[in-house]
Symmetry: C2
Subunit: 317 residues, 2 copies
Amino acid sequence: MTSAAAGIGVDVGGTKIAAGVVGADGAVLARVRRDTPAGDADAIARTIGEVVTALDAPALPVGVGAAGHVDLDGVVRTSPNLPGWSHEPLRERLQAQLDQRRVVVANDADAAAWGEYRCGGAADVDGLVLLTVGTGVGGGVVIGDRLLRGADGGAGEVGHLIVDEGGPRCACGNLGCLEAHASGTAIGRKAREAVAQGRVRPASPLASQAPAGADVTHAALHGDPDARDLLAEAGRWLGVGLGALGNVLDPPVFVIGGGVMAAGELLLAPARAAMVERLLGRETRAVPPVRPSALGGDAGLIGAGLLAAEPAGQPQR
Amino acid sequence: MTSAAAGIGVDVGGTKIAAGVVGADGAVLARVRRDTPAGDADAIARTIGEVVTALDAPALPVGVGAAGHVDLDGVVRTSPNLPGWSHEPLRERLQAQLDQRRVVVANDADAAAWGEYRCGGAADVDGLVLLTVGTGVGGGVVIGDRLLRGADGGAGEVGHLIVDEGGPRCACGNLGCLEAHASGTAIGRKAREAVAQGRVRPASPLASQAPAGADVTHAALHGDPDARDLLAEAGRWLGVGLGALGNVLDPPVFVIGGGVMAAGELLLAPARAAMVERLLGRETRAVPPVRPSALGGDAGLIGAGLLAAEPAGQPQR
């Protein structure tokens, strides 16, 4: 082992439950992975208990990052991708299953923010705003060495900044959320619209299919100019959101993760440019750096394990 | 005196410098007021020194709320309404003038947020987001019992949330900021547009003038339906901003101050309705209350005095 084991982290997503023993330095020292029995709350809790037990570290506290709205008591109020969860008392249930071991439950993107903060893209500063740009846009906020949970656990939903009131319909039902312009889903939708409207060159690999967001990223990384334009537009919208967040929170750093970050600077460069334009007093103020995630897909698991292990894992309202 | 004197608060605006001795309970125990010599940094500092000295409380620490971007060293980088200030080392200069007394300098809306938090509209909870809706839209954020200053002092500029990218031009130069839709200036602009476009009934008091924001509030309070529609629209945009802030910060309460709050529920009721619609998971989450300011125009002075007196006045980055 390269570092002392600090906690067990569990990342519960719509399709997979990933768990690991997390070292104090963020190293993942052992791993287990299972499919998520998404429709059945009992089966999800049982599966989490099984992966934790399989890691065979009964002295370690357990942190769970769960896709959904997690309140300050560790109850999952709702989860868009896990229909089995509705007012699910996950922390209480897992604690009972695990012989009253310390269990911390947080939103998965909040856990990822904590991971990036403690040993990822923001390890050198005293806070961050994380945005995860994937199917949706999620995120988390760390201020003053504490994870921001909010009064009812609802903080960090940066994908639902309204940046374009009256704009495209978001998965949440509202119009013009950041997610409706900058997520992988939005990139795919805009690509299909561009194809349907003849705005994509016949030579583009996008023209011959009904492209999804990942197809756009793939084509852009292979040099397709139409795909690059679509990513630049998503990046510009991301920058509009970063500008709004910069004006309200002025964080020491933004960290960007999620699947769309496979596009790297094709997304980040236009995002930075659009952000700077929108910062109040941009001529005389420091501009927050915008960095790629350092932990990638492990951020949630690592952050959950560290949240369980550290006093700072206590919720900051 | 009804309470022990805690600090001297100074609110430096574009036209007036208001100072007072602030009690630990937020009471203003003595007051002084002068015109602001807005174009001359030396004269502003001298005037602040004079009002502080006039209050004759040499043992008290001094807090200054200054309109502008105040960095973490108490330097005013820029101030839209005080052209004399450019990289003005206000804290250092005042400390030298005042025999090395403790001096804290913050943005005026940040100071007001601290005042509302400690003894105003949020005195019963552990944080708030304040929005001041006046000529512009300013604000401040208190999280976890600490005033949020941001990495470079730029936090709390809630008026520059981009809610309508590509929308109306804001005083900051950008398009579609909350301020460009919900400030008193924006309400006046929209009223004049409505008059010019014949959308105001001839019987409305707005029809016979080039109305400013305050005229709209006045007419609305006297029952004019056109004026009420204009305030309702501003309130709706305010609610779009509150929804975005609710999704990112989930504060225990929103407090709304500033001159436009003379309109009271004519502004707040549509704001609350628009906010709730935009909150993620609104069916199952607690909705932050939206309250009027309790301290009104004294919030900045009171907050500045308390910031100087309390350890929590140390900046939270």
